[in-house]
């Protein structure tokens, strides 16, 4: 019985493992943590046995689950006390590869944004999702996604201009208070 279930999960795992790993990495900023998140997402898939209308629906479900798992880990007491959560460590950068877009400095700045801004920006620019699709995945209004894209872009600009301290720090703190979990 368990074997059958595992076999069922093989197809979506092969299809989505790369994109789910990238999304998990953009949130967790570590290879090991990202792999754990992807594994947990497939465990939840096997447990929930969800029925999907089509492939897009299936993909969106996996992405949402991965984002939520990341959020749950980040807000846990252990994680918030032990992990300095801001930028991607240089040692971890080599574990992240985009298939069609060249990685540049901006990508790492996007990953350092607060969760509410990081995910819409990452999905829009680096995974080629439209505003409508992001709104569906994150269960947000399209207007909210547009606002987050705009504000996130401004934050990235400020990070690049002023670095991670000073003005940017206060903006980031303000943003963190405004938007916690993505599906808010």
């Amino acid at each position: 019985m368990r074997r059958n279930k595992e076999k069922e999960a093989e197809a979506p795992f092969e299809k989505y493992k790369d994109i789910l790993y990238r999304i998990a990495f953009s949130n967790m900023k570590s290879k090991a943590d990202a792999e754990d998140v992807v594994q947990e997402a497939f465990c939840r898939y096997l447990k929930a046995e969800p029925a999907f209308e089509n492939e897009n629906h299936e993909k969106a479900w996996f992405i949402r689950v991965v984002i939520n798992i990341c959020y749950d880990i980040q807000k846990s007491a252990w994680f918030s006390r032990t992990v300095a959560f801001d930028e991607v460590p240089e040692s971890e950068m080599e574990h992240f590869k985009l298939p069609f877009v060249e990685e540049d400095e901006t990508l790492w700045h996007v990953m350092a944004l607060p969760t509410a801004y990081r995910n819409p920006l990452y999905l829009f620019y680096y995974e080629d999702y439209s505003i409508k699709e992001i709104a569906q995945i994150m269960e947000l209004g399209e207007g909210t996604v547009k606002t987050r894209l705009r504000r996130g872009r401004e934050m990235v600009k400020e990070r690049i201009l002023y670095g991670t301290g000073g003005k940017d720090r206060s903006l980031m703190d303000k943003a963190s208070k405004e938007g916690g979990k993505d599906a808010d």
Partner: protein, 192 residues
């Protein structure tokens, strides 16, 4: 009146009338009285001179414009008329077709929303809030191997735009980022 008095009057009148015994005013100025200042150009003359200069400048600009236009219509460095004479009607059809192909640089087309995987080039510009995706479109129209380039722009305000650019006539220094992208794809060789 005595005859000598009459003669004196006539003589003085002749002096006033001037040469040729023309009728003149008694208070007319003599030639020596005219000051050198009167040789200076009058305001009307000034404006005429400046308008003449303007028209000359305009004429020069027009000449330069026509010269440039004529150079633009040259193919392979030869003036078009000369080519016409040498090539004859059959060859001219080809030349005209080539010129027609080069004329429109871009046309707006419906957005296809091509995925990154199918693109020949992708440019992500987070700071300006857009993504450009470009792909060669169809077979090349001539031996240069450069055909139409499909370029799509996705902005973070939800706007989508798509244009087809003639790869051969797209410009590197264009102010439009989509045209620059088309140029980059056209000059990038095979798939990146």
């Amino acid at each position: 009146m005595r005859i000598n008095e009459w003669n004196q009057r006539k003589q003085s009148g002749a002096e006033i009338n001037g040469p040729g015994n023309m009728q003149g005013k008694g208070n007319a100025k003599k030639l020596g009285d005219i000051s050198t200042k009167s040789c200076k150009a009058k305001p009307e003359e000034d404006s005429f001179r400046s308008s003449l200069q303007k028209s000359m400048v305009q004429e020069e600009a027009m000449k330069a414009h026509y010269r440039k236009a004529e150079e633009g219509s040259r193919i392979g460095g030869q003036p078009l008329r000369q080519l016409e004479r040498e090539a004859g009607p059959a060859r001219m059809e080809n030349i005209n077709a080539c010129m027609e192909r080069n004329a429109p640089a871009a046309k707006e087309v419906p957005v296809r929303r091509i995925p990154y995987g199918e693109c020949d080039m992708v440019e992500v510009n987070v700071l300006d809030g857009y993504v450009l995706k470009a792909k060669r479109d169809g077979k090349p129209a001539d031996s240069s191997g450069i055909g139409w380039i499909y370029v799509e722009k996705k902005s973070d305000d939800g706007e989508w735009k798509a244009y087809l650019y003639d790869g051969a006539s797209s410009r590197k220094e264009s102010g439009d980022e989509m045209e620059r992208m088309a140029y980059a794809v056209a000059n990038a060789g095979p798939k990146l």
